[in-house]
């Protein structure tokens, strides 16, 4: 393997954390302002000027209106409920330490309840509170939902990046209730995608235009894959490219949770790299997912368990490149031309834990057979093998125990 190719492979999956750009911009502004303040102070000192110094500052962002807005909703006039919410909000701050994504250094004002609502499991309220954060010179807004007698979730909204607010809260005993802030735009939601005979997916969307409350409440069972988007119009049924709103519980809130699905982790190859492609860096799993979404073959990815972190690549006899992966318990493939342009989607069958993954490819290019940790095929290739077209069965050896797999 060439050094460059190995370095590219080692870094192919790396990407910056969500919010990184905002953190850099906020930190850069703060650092720059601090430098201007120091320079100005030094100049003033040297000049012997003790008064009348105007320090250069970046313009103040207007305050978040939710910090002072009157409560809306059916319980807005219930002073006892408002007081209970504020009490629970304060308890939540005492009991739950700030996380890395919550760079709060100081809670500087009284919490303000700006929305109330009735849900099937009891009353709920949205709260806003001004806080100081170490990543910005300006005060930020801490926004959160109180429901079911506790703080469900909270979000730090920087004044410089209010357009990045998620504004989505999932709660309830089985996690099927949603409160979504419209934030001045149209919120649309959909559940239960349908796959047609041409393998393309469609979704039926409901929507709520921005109203005076600015809040949408709905109930949607998790196994119906609810998806929420915020935009200027309602998505088309075959549009799987909108930016889906993702709630804070995208990842499990505890470590060492085994990933569902086949439970594999890593990038594997079912064939050797052709000599002429030794420095080719391959197609990223995320790119393949997006390419399938553009063609309405793969659904929105809005949960941690949707896409396990494994893939199997293969160089095909006709020169194309295939990437196989798992999503929502099904197998998918994306085929690319040698120059990296997308060629064709492949929808496989169910991915069953304990069984090898089998993905028949179109145009007589063979079948990818993968079983991580096993040896596959007559050459006992590690993890995966591209069975040539016409192969009827493949032997997979997991811990030396042979198992014959019939191919479709």
């Amino acid at each position: 393997m060439e050094l460059k190719q190995a370095m590219e492979a080692a870094t192919a999956e790396l990407d910056v954390r969500p919010g990184f750009v905002g953190d850099v911009m906020a930190g850069g502004r703060r650092m720059h302002t601090r430098r201007l303040v120091v320079v100005t102070a030094v100049v003033a000192l040297l000049a012997g000027v003790t008064t009348g110094v105007v320090l250069t500052r970046t313009p103040e962002e207007p305050a978040d209106p939710r910090l002072t807005a009157a409560a809306t909703g059916p319980l807005a006039g219930d002073a006892q409920f408002i007081a209970t919410v504020q009490h629970l909000w304060g308890e939540g701050q005492r009991d739950r330490p700030w996380t890395r994504d919550e760079p709060v250094t100081e809670v500087s004002s009284k919490p303000n309840v700006f929305w109330t609502g009735q849900t099937p499991t009891g009353p709920a309220a949205l709260v806003a509170q001004q806080v100081q954060v170490r990543t910005s010179e300006h005060p930020a807004t801490l926004v959160g939902l109180v429901a079911d007698g506790t703080v469900v979730d909270r979000e730090v909204v920087l004044s410089e990046s209010r357009d990045r607010e998620a504004g989505l809260y999932r709660f309830g005993p089985v996690g099927d209730q949603y409160v979504v802030l419209t934030l001045g735009r149209t919120v649309s939601w959909s559940q239960s995608p349908k796959r047609g005979t041409d393998n393309r997916l469609t979704r039926t969307w409901a929507s709520a235009p921005h109203d005076e409350d600015g809040v949408v409440f709905t109930v949607a069972p998790v196994d119906e894959r609810p998806v929420f988007v915020r935009g200027d119009s309602v998505p088309q049924p075959g549009d799987f490219t909108q930016h889906a709103i993702v709630s804070g519980d995208l990842q499990p809130d505890r470590p060492f949770v085994p990933h569902p699905g086949l439970g594999w982790n890593g990038n594997f190859c079912a064939t050797d790299f052709p000599e002429r492609k030794r420095s080719w860096q391959g197609i990223k799993l995320q790119t393949a997912q997006q390419d399938l979404q553009k063609r309405a073959v793969l659904d929105y990815v809005v949960s941690w368990e949707a896409i396990p972190h494994w893939s199997v690549c293969a160089w095909l006899p006709d020169g194309r490149y295939a990437l196989m992966f798992e999503a929502y318990g099904e197998l998918y493939g994306a085929l690319y031309q040698p120059d990296g342009t997308f060629s064709a989607p492949v929808v496989g069958g169910r991915a069953t834990k304990g069984d090898p993954a089998v993905l028949p490819l179109p145009d007589g290019q063979g079948t990818i057979v993968a079983d991580v940790g096993a040896t596959v095929g007559p050459q006992e290739r590690a993890h995966a093998w591209l069975a040539p077209a016409g192969t009827r069965e493949v032997t997979v050896r997991q811990k030396g125990v042979p198992r014959v797999i019939q191919l479709p």
Partner: protein, 162 residues
């Protein structure tokens, strides 16, 4: 500053990869030094906007070197520094990818920086020398020694060099 924000949005991923290799596979440290370098570029944007990429890469190399200098009394092993697999076996991309990071982590900081800038970022010897603030002769000698050391560490996995 829209163009600076665009630069950060568009180039952060590529720069993170360089930082990751410069930090010997420590992703947390890579993100930290990248954020520090980009933040420091904010106030200098007008001066450096003609070649921000070069400025950022030089900043990353220096930040990684300083980081290692500060921590030199306690060498890090961000990835398991067990035996580096040398068998090519079944063309396992994963094994190759991990072992190159392990091997890089074992190189002296300057040697690592030279290899990363030359072979990952495709900088010329002169550009690498400018980024690291050293002479071209140093880049040449560090490249030669670095490649030899990588061959020792990775065995047959390192076949050719571009």
């Amino acid at each position: 500053m829209q163009d600076f924000e665009d630069f950060v949005a568009l180039r952060s991923q590529a720069l993170l990869r360089t930082a990751y290799l410069l930090c010997g596979g420590d992703k947390g440290a890579a993100e930290d030094i990248l954020q520090d370098v980009l933040m420091s570029m904010y106030g200098k944007w007008r001066r450096i906007r003609s070649s921000p990429e070069a400025y950022a890469r030089a900043g990353l190399a220096n930040a990684a070197a300083n980081r290692w200098r500060r921590r030199s009394r306690k060498p890090e092993a961000p990835l398991e520094l067990g035996a580096v697999p040398t068998a090519r076996g079944h063309e396992q991309q994963v094994v190759d990818a991990d072992s190159v990071v392990r091997a890089l982590a074992q190189l002296p900081k300057k040697m690592r920086a030279v290899l990363v800038l030359r072979f990952f970022d495709d900088l010329s010897e002169a550009e690498t020398a400018r980024a690291l603030g050293c002479g071209i002769g140093t880049v040449k000698s560090q490249t030669s020694r670095g490649l030899a050391r990588m061959r020792e560490l990775m065995g047959e996995q390192v076949l050719t060099w571009n």
